[in-house]
Symmetry: C2
Subunit: 310 residues, 2 copies
């Protein structure tokens, strides 16, 4: 009922970073795609290629990174075939010991949000049988709807030892259009501070046991280092998922502020730089998984250098 | 590239309401579920029951309502089998002439948001073939990330004549925790007004031709009648999707303010009251679809009475 499980894995691998599994069709080497040329439905063929691509990446990364983060959009784009590959990716990664963060940014209220919680973190009961439809370890969510959108997730976090990451300050250039706006309060605060404060409150129901971080984390972008440091200080029980390192322009110095004195408190994501390492290196495409591993190791060393993780 | 197509259908059916297809397992009559008892995987059995339930509802509703709104959470809860039922529901509803609003509240940035746009509104190109993975007519989205999260949807709206609904003021009790907060501006405005204003701006790129409503709509809850009227006045080019009628406590008088002088400008959603009409009526469960039709007609008459739609 907290991020203890993830933090255990981070300490074990000495690596506070997560590999984003965003299998855009153009990222997948031709040698994998060619294997499914005989499959008639192109969406099915693409989804099978995604599955093979992901499994090979997971094999190459599972002793380097503590976690992977499949992004739902890149599976939905292949229709229900893609969602099958998504489910299989989650299961395979967990079998290999990885903590899986489903990046869905889901949001709704009441029984609808309970349905998302059951789909991605908990269980569904049908004919007396309990089943885990997708069964990730954590889910990213959007808190625009307030407590009604977050509270339905907490029972699943408690019962199944799962976590959520609520969008606070995102890494994109236009995030400030809403998130940086100051709202009337005493003292006045920005929307992202307000959201961060709500994460602390929501987290009280699912507190951390070993490390002090609750099951309610926050997404805070690597591209805004000052806000990262500021929020780290103000939100002592909120674990951070930090996107925007690498391809989006955030560097390792910039993410340093996301970490506490023990070098914990955050996990930094990289997707494209890892997935497309084979392109950047210019190595044979068959070596895509080894190239991803090399980039993941480079990233780990780069980040650990700037945190106090021992 | 606007909501003209939806509004045409509203005028044709003389009905500015949409039936939400939220197939919670408990809503489905036992006589349908029993047909799939022989299917080994319970998630698959449930998804097949959902499919049959939806198809029967669509048959019963397609000449009464202009649109249906399947809510993604109630399909994801049955895993990828559920997403297959979701895709089949979209296709079947469109075949029956219905406008389909995929209620996914999706949100992300850049190429990830493009992937959602391709998945739900546009096309994906694989092996030179262009395919529509889910192919809805409109998608609900969450604008917390700002323009970077909305702009990637607009090309799909233009190219394929689709629309989006951005969450502005949602119908739930806690929506005010963030959405009602006043932000510093001249004059000061609430977060939902800010979001509504952005909808007007985003919509300029995809303007309406026949009725003046762009392809960027907003979600505004029936449970906040004052805000509905206020936003209707301030956002003359933004079409509203209005949840919260019926089961959530919003009445027909309350939604009147959502409409313009022609009785257009909004579509009111009801899910549970239509889906569970057979339970409320206490009719034989085999009559669930006819009961849904009776409730949809009752709702239409109730709402039209309070709008100027001719």
């Amino acid at each position: 009922m907290s991020f203890d499980r993830l933090i255990d894995r981070i300490i074990e691998t000495k690596n506070p970073s997560v590999a984003g599994l965003d299998p855009h069709y153009s990222y997948i080497p031709g040698c994998i795609k060619a294997k499914y040329d005989h499959v008639e439905n192109p969406l099915e063929a693409a989804a099978l290629a995604v599955r093979e691509y992901n499994f090979a990446l997971i094999d190459a990364l599972c002793d380097v990174v503590p976690a992977v983060k499949p992004q739902a959009a890149y599976y939905e784009m292949y229709g229900w075939y893609g969602m099958k590959a998504f489910a299989e990716t989650v299961t395979y990664a967990q079998k290999k010991g990885l903590f899986v963060i489903a990046d869905g940014k889901r949001n709704d209220i009441g029984s609808t949000m309970e349905a998302y919680a059951a789909a991605h973190l908990g269980q569904v009961e049908i004919r007396g049988q309990k089943l885990s439809p997708f069964g990730a370890d954590a889910l990213t969510v959007n808190g625009y709807l307030g407590t009604d959108g977050i509270a339905p997730l907490l029972p699943a976090c408690k019962e199944f030892d799962k976590g959520i990451f609520v969008l606070a300050k995102t890494s994109n250039p236009s995030s400030g259009e809403l998130q940086d706006k100051k709202v009337y309060a005493r003292p006045s605060k920005t929307v992202y501070e307000l959201m961060g404060g709500m994460c602390e409150t929501w987290g009280e129901e699912v507190p951390g046991v070993k490390y002090g971080y609750s099951a309610v984390g926050a997404v805070v972008g690597a591209t805004y280092p000052e806000q990262l440091s500021e929020l780290r200080e103000k939100l002592p029980h909120t674990f951070f998922l930090v996107p925007g390192y690498g391809a989006q322009g955030g560097g390792a110095e910039g993410v340093a502020g996301a970490f506490d004195k023990q070098g914990l408190g955050a996990i930094v994501n990289s997707s494209r730089a890892i997935l497309c390492a084979w392109k950047k290196e210019g190595c044979p495409e068959e070596e895509f998984a080894q190239a991803a591993r090399r980039e993941a190791i480079r990233m780990r060393d780069d980040i650990v250098q700037h945190t106090g993780l021992k």
